[in-house]
């Protein structure tokens, strides 16, 4: 894309994009560290995740301010407008992602007080890694404006849902087998739900990236994981995107 005739305008747009990249990197690290803190029962790391969330909140506010200022002073149109609004939307998704990571870290603190639940935390870890990868992919797609990569993330959201459904069943089996695990399992269940929501935010970001690049909404069927019939539906129709 050519440079803006008014160089400061282009610089401001680039600054916003750069801040999204920074915020994205931080959100990614928050998710990864939250998962690690669960797996390693690392109290210090969990606390660090909770504290660092303030940084994400501050970045979110800053990006919003910059975007509003740019709209007011530069009146962006077409691709520039989509880029500005896209940054605001992605910043919101990343801020929510950070909140969910913080939530996981807080539960990690509680879990660390009880007995280790090795096989279950490993399942959470696996799901966490999947979600982190998706988040990284979609953020890379954003910085590199790679349409195909964003679409790939959007199309594979069902992988996360499948993971979540499997974890749900696994946890249920545990709780039925040994009611003393109900407390810990409930925390793990909420963590799984939080990870599933982070996956949804990655999907939202993929949609935003697609709109930003093409000016059109993503069309087509997105595969959805079907919960098995005998389950009380672990993913009831509360999907928010």
């Amino acid at each position: 894309m050519n440079q803006h005739t008014v160089k400061a305008y282009g610089d401001e747009l680039n600054q916003i994009t750069a801040e999204i990249a920074r915020m994205g990197g931080l959100a990614e690290a928050q998710v990864a560290d939250a998962i690690d803190s669960v797996a390693r029962r690392d109290i210090a790391l969990a606390r660090a995740v909770v504290e660092r969330d303030l940084k994400l909140d501050a970045l979110h506010r800053d990006i919003e301010k910059k975007a509003i200022r740019l709209i007011a002073l530069r009146q962006p149109v077409a691709s520039d407008l989509r880029r500005t609004l896209g940054a605001m939307k992605i910043a919101t998704d990343l801020e929510r992602t950070g909140d969910l990571a913080k939530n996981i870290a807080k539960r990690a603190l509680i879990l660390a007080e009880g007995e280790p639940m090795q096989p279950l935390t490993r399942s959470i870890e696996r799901m966490g890694r999947l979600v982190s990868t998706r988040l990284r992919d979609v953020l890379d797609a954003y910085t590199a404006s790679e349409l195909d990569r964003a679409v790939a993330v959007w199309q594979t959201d069902d992988e996360v849902d499948e993971h979540y459904n499997a974890l749900f069943r696994e946890l249920l089996t545990y709780m039925m087998g040994d009611p003393r695990t109900i407390g810990a399992c409930t925390h793990l269940l909420f963590m799984a739900k939080n990870l599933e929501r982070i996956g949804d935010h990655a999907t939202n970001i993929a949609e935003t990236v697609h709109y930003e690049i093409t000016g059109e909404d993503i069309v087509g069927e997105r595969p959805r994981a079907q919960p098995t019939a005998e389950d009380s539906d672990p993913t009831p129709n509360l999907s928010t995107h």
């Binding site: 050519n2 005739t5 149109v77 077409a78 691709s79 407008l81 000016g215 059109e216």
Partner: protein, 320 residues
């Protein structure tokens, strides 16, 4: 399929070739073979891509999304030459009725030249020659049987700087209807003047001083007076050449409000350097560059997601 690619004018109605009044007709552009082949065999997406590719090569392809609703003015293959130098290259553009169409583009892109072809203002410039066909309601406005004076009553023009006659406010508005013999009685003329001033949103400000000189009005008022003068003769089309560039923001807003009201009755074509103004007042936008029409479509599409790279570069301020 919404988007259609016009290949120069060869796939248009063929209008112009049958026009006996023009000794000279520009030949159709020779397009790269790939495009003609693609347009016949490949899907629409490929056609757009092929067209985009060819436009990068030759900068001659036009991306045109046709308007909905009746067409008031249909320009086909319109070229303009000043002293043999070509200023406008085979412009084909449909201008819908009761709609504001904005012509945008950098200085010297041909937008004002094109605007002037629509009421034959170029006739008055010596050494100017117009080829191609411009039809208003299907009738060729360059036909010998058309009287340019009568044409200009049907196609009014508002210029960049307000140009009222150095006469009273009343006489400014009454002049047109008088010379065209539209009214006979004085009382009838009073009615015409009042209704034109009202429609131009100026009545309340001048009702008590109709006999005062128009030169005493502010710039914004003068511009609205000129619009009142134009609409007093009941035109069908109003052409505006940067009507707000000499006005302050408040006066500009009043003119824009007026334009929006007038489009219920008239076909309006406005040349503007302000892209924000084009976005605010028009429903259709045509982007010109280097004497060629580059892209035309609904204003909201042009400003949200233009198809042509040059349009995008221009509206986002990346030109050159």
């Amino acid at each position: 399929m919404k988007t259609r690619i016009f290949r120069s004018a060869e796939d248009q109605t063929g209008a112009g070739t049958a026009d006996p009044t023009h000794a000279v007709r520009m030949g159709g552009q020779v397009l790269p073979a790939a495009v003609s082949e693609a347009s016949e065999t490949a899907g629409d997406a490929d056609r757009i891509e092929a067209a985009a590719e060819s436009s990068r090569q030759a900068d001659q392809t036009v991306v045109a999304t046709p308007p909905t609703g009746p067409i008031k003015i249909a320009a086909r293959d319109v070229s303009v030459f000043y002293e043999g130098k070509q200023a406008l290259f085979e412009v084909s553009l449909d201008i819908p009725d009761k709609t504001v169409t904005a012509l945008i583009g950098p200085s010297g892109c041909g937008k004002s030249t094109f605007l002037r072809t629509m009421n034959r203002m170029n006739d008055t410039i010596s050494g100017a020659k117009v080829t191609g066909r411009i039809a208003m309601d299907g009738e060729d406005i360059n036909d010998r049987s058309i009287d340019p004076v009568l044409l200009r009553a049907r196609v009014g023009m508002v210029f960049q700087r307000p140009n009222p006659f150095p006469k009273s406010i009343y006489e400014n508005v009454a002049y047109g209807p008088k010379i065209h013999g539209l009214v006979s009685a004085k009382s009838e003329m009073d009615g015409v003047v009042e209704s034109a001033l009202k429609r131009a949103g100026l009545w309340d400000e001048v009702a008590d001083r109709l006999q005062s000189s128009a030169m005493g009005l502010s710039g914004g008022q003068q511009q609205r007076l000129v619009i009142a003068r134009a609409i007093a003769v009941n035109p069908e089309v109003i052409l505006m050449d940067e009507p707000c560039s000499a006005l302050d923001p408040i006066a500009t807003a009043r003119i824009e409000e007026l334009i929006d009201e007038l489009r219920e009755r008239f076909c309006i074509v406005i040349v503007t350097h302000s892209m924000a103004q084009a976005a605010r007042v028009s429903q259709r936008t045509a982007f010109f560059h280097m004497g060629r029409l580059v892209e035309t479509g609904d204003t909201e599409d042009i400003f949200q997601n233009p198809r042509e790279r040059r349009t995008l570069d221009y509206i986002t301020g990346r030109f050159g």
